[in-house]
Amino acid sequence: MKHARAAREFLSNGPRTEWHSQALWYVRQKRDVQKDEIRDWEDLREQASVIKEHTLSNLDQYLEEFETKALKNGIHVHWAVNAKEHNNIVLEILQQAGVRKLVKSKSMLTEECHLNPFLMDKGIDVIESDLGERIIQFADQDPSHIVLPAIHLKKEEVGKLFEKKLNTESGNYDPTYLTGAARKHLREHFVSAEVAMTGVNFAIAESGGFAVCTNEGNADMGVHHAKIHIASMGIEKVIPGKDQLAVFLRLLARSATGQPITTYTSHFQKPAEGKEIHLIIVDNGRSEHLGKDKFWRALKCIRCGACLNTCPVYRRSGGHSYGYTIPGPIGSILTPRVDLKQYSDLPFASSLCGSCTDVCPVKIEIHEQLYQWRQEVYEQKQLSGTKKLGLKVMGRVLARPRLYHRSGKFARKALKISPRFLIYNRMNPWGRSRDLPAPPKQSFQEWYRENRSKS
C-alpha cells in the first residue's frame, strides 16, 4: 500500500495535482495530434511490435552481430551482467584516463544502476547535461518521469533552485531566462569535460552503430568535445538494421512529446581520430525477464513515456509515488521482476483502464501484464492479509447462490436501517469521498421470480 499512501500525500495539494495532471495531459494531446498526422499509425505500431518481438526472440544472435560490427568499427565493447559491473566499468574507464569529471546526457539505465551516487562516492564530479536531469540533480531528487524528469517541479521552484546554484536574478522565473542561465553553465562543463556519457536509444546490429535521441543536443555537445565517449545500453536496445530504425524514429518522438521527431538524432558509428568510444551492454535482470512467458514483451519498451502521460493514476499520484526509477504503468510491470516483495503493490496502482496499452507505440499489453503480475503477487504470497481475507470470504459467498441471496438481502436491509455513522467511518474507505448506492427493497432476481418465473 506504499503507492496508495504516497498518492494520497501527493493528492493532498489539490491545485498542484491538477496542474501536474493537466501538464501531462497536454503532452498526451500533442501526441494525439501527431498520431493522426501520418496515415499509417496503426500499421507502424504493429511493425514496431513485430520487429521488437522478432529481435527479442533472437537476441543472442543480434547482440553478437552487433558486437562484431561495433568492434570492427573500433568501438570498445564491454558486457555488464548487473548494475555493479556496469558502474565499475565506467569507473575504470575514468580512472584509466585519469579523469575526475563526467558529463552525462540523459540515461534511464544509469539511473537504474544508480551510477551517479556510486561515482560521486569515488570522488568523480558528475554533471547531468539534460536540463531536466540537471534540475533534479541540483534538487537532489530522483527523476519523476522517464522523458520529463523534472515535470513535478514548477518554474518558480526551478527559479529558486537556480538562484542558489547558478546565481540567477532573484524572483526571475521566466523559463527562457532560466534556460539561458543553464545553457551558459553547462557550456562551461562541456568544454572542460574529457569524458562524456550517453545512453543508447537504438543499437543497430547490421552496422555496429547506435542512435541517441535528444531535444537539447546535449549528448552531442558533450561527446563532440570529449576524448572519450561512454555509452550504456540495455541488451534489449538492439534492432536488426537501419530500415527498422526508421520505424522507431517515426514512433518515438510522436509518442513521447508529440513532436514528429526529436530535435537531434545522433548516429554514432566509429570513434573520430584520436578519440575512443566505449559501449557497455548491460543485462541487470533483463535476460531473466526475457525468460518469463507472460512478461517478456515488456522488454519491447522504447522508453517513450506515453503510458505515463496517459495514465490517469500516474498523472494524479506523481512519479515519486512509485518508488522506482521507472514509474507509471511500464514501471509497474518492470519492477515486480526486480523485487516482487518490495514492489508488490505497484501492479495494483492501476484501474486497468487499458489506456497505456492503446497508447503504447510498440503494443505492449501493459494492462494485461499488470493483471498477470497481480496473480504472481498472490501466488508468491505477497498479497496483504486483510485484502486476501476479505476477498476469500467474498469468494465463498459468490460460489454459493443461496448464501449470496441471503447475504445480499441482509446487507441491503442493514444499509437501510443503519445510522450514517455506522456506515461512513474509517472502516469504509469507499465512503470517504463517495456515498453508497441507496439499497433497493428487492434484488433483480427477487423481482424476476415475482414477475417472470413460470412456476
Binding site: E42, R316, G395, A399, D435
Partner: protein, 246 residues
C-alpha cells in the same frame, strides 16, 4: 434463439432497475430471453486482486448456468470481458468456449447481432456518455481516443439515433472514471479524484445525465455526485433506451 440474461451481482443487489430495463428492452425488441435463477458473479473482484485461481467455483457455476443458451447478454462490458478473458484455464472446455464465444454486452448485442442502427425513441435530455474502459478498450465496442482516427462507440451510435437527445462533447472523451473494482477501495484517494475529475468534465459541458454501459462506473460516479450534491444524475444505457422507446 434462446437468450440468457446475465445480471452482474452488484446490479442484482443495488441497481435492479437496470436489470429490469435490460430485460424489458430486449423483450420489446423481440428477443426471447430468460434470466436463469441462482446467478451470482463472474469472479472479477477476486481475479483482479490476483486471486483468479480462487474463482474456479464461481466460474464453473457461471458456465453451468449459461452454457445451454444460444446467446448470453449482459448490461456490463466489464463482466462480459472478464468471462471472455479471465476464466481460470482449468475450466477451458467446450462448454466454456461456447459461453465465451456467445456472450455479449448489451450495446454490442444490439449493434452486432440484432444489427440495429437506429432506435425509434425519444429522450429530450442533455446526456454525457461515459466510455467504460473494459467495453471500449477490452471488448472494442468502439475506438478509443488513443488509436488512429476519431473515437467512436456502439453506445454512442445507438444513443444518437434517439430523437431530441443532445449528446454533450466532453473535454476528455474516454478517460477512466477511477472505479477499477477493488482499486476504488485500496487506492481510494486516486480513485475518488479520478471520479471527481470525470464528473467535472460532464458538469462543465452541460450534461444533465451521465450514462454508460457499465453500472459499476456509474455507481462510483453517483457516489461522488451524491456526496457533493452535483446537479446531475446517472442512468445506465439500458435505462435510457428502454425509457426512450416506450
Amino acid at each position: 434463439m434462446k437468450a440468457g440474461l446475465f445480471i452482474p451481482c452488484y446490479i442484482d443487489q443495488f441497481y435492479p432497475q437496470v436489470g429490469i430495463d435490460t430485460l424489458l428492452l430486449l423483450e420489446k425488441l423481440g428477443v426471447e430471453i430468460e434470466s436463469p435463477a441462482n446467478q451470482t458473479c463472474c469472479g472479477q473482484p477476486l481475479a483482479n486482486s490476483g486471486m483468479e485461481k480462487e474463482t474456479t467455483e464461481i466460474c464453473s457455476h457461471f458456465i453451468q448456468l449459461f452454457s445451454s443458451y444460444d446467446t448470453i447478454i449482459s448490461p456490463s462490458g466489464s463482466c462480459v470481458l472478464h468471462i471472455k478473458e479471465h476464466v481460470p484455464e482449468s475450466l477451458h472446455d467446450e462448454a466454456y468456449f461456447h459461453v465465451r464465444d456467445h456472450i455479449y454486452e448489451l450495446t454490442e448485442f444490439l449493434t452486432d447481432v440484432l444489427m440495429i442502427e437506429e432506435l425509434d425513441g425519444h429522450f429530450p435530455h442533455r446526456v454525457g456518455l461515459h466510455q467504460s474502459c473494459h467495453g471500449l478498450r477490452g471488448l472494442r465496442n468502439g475506438k478509443s481516443s488513443e488509436l488512429a482516427g476519431d473515437p467512436s462507440s456502439k453506445a454512442r451510435s445507438l444513443l444518437s439515433s434517439l430523437k431530441d437527445i443532445q449528446l454533450v462533447d466532453l473535454d476528455r472523451t474516454d478517460e477512466c472514471c477511477g472505479f477499477g473494482g477493488t482499486f476504488s477501495v485500496f487506492e481510494e484517494a486516486v480513485s475518488a479524484q479520478m471520479g471527481k475529475d470525470r464528473i467535472h468534465d460532464h458538469v462543465k459541458n452541460g450534461a444533465e445525465v451521465i450514462t454508460a454501459i457499465d453500472m459499476s462506473c456509474l455507481m462510483h460516479m453517483e457516489g461522488v455526485i451524491k456526496r457533493n450534491s452535483h446537479p446531475l444524475r446517472v442512468m445506465h444505457v439500458a435505462e435510457i433506451l428502454n425509457f426512450a422507446i416506450s
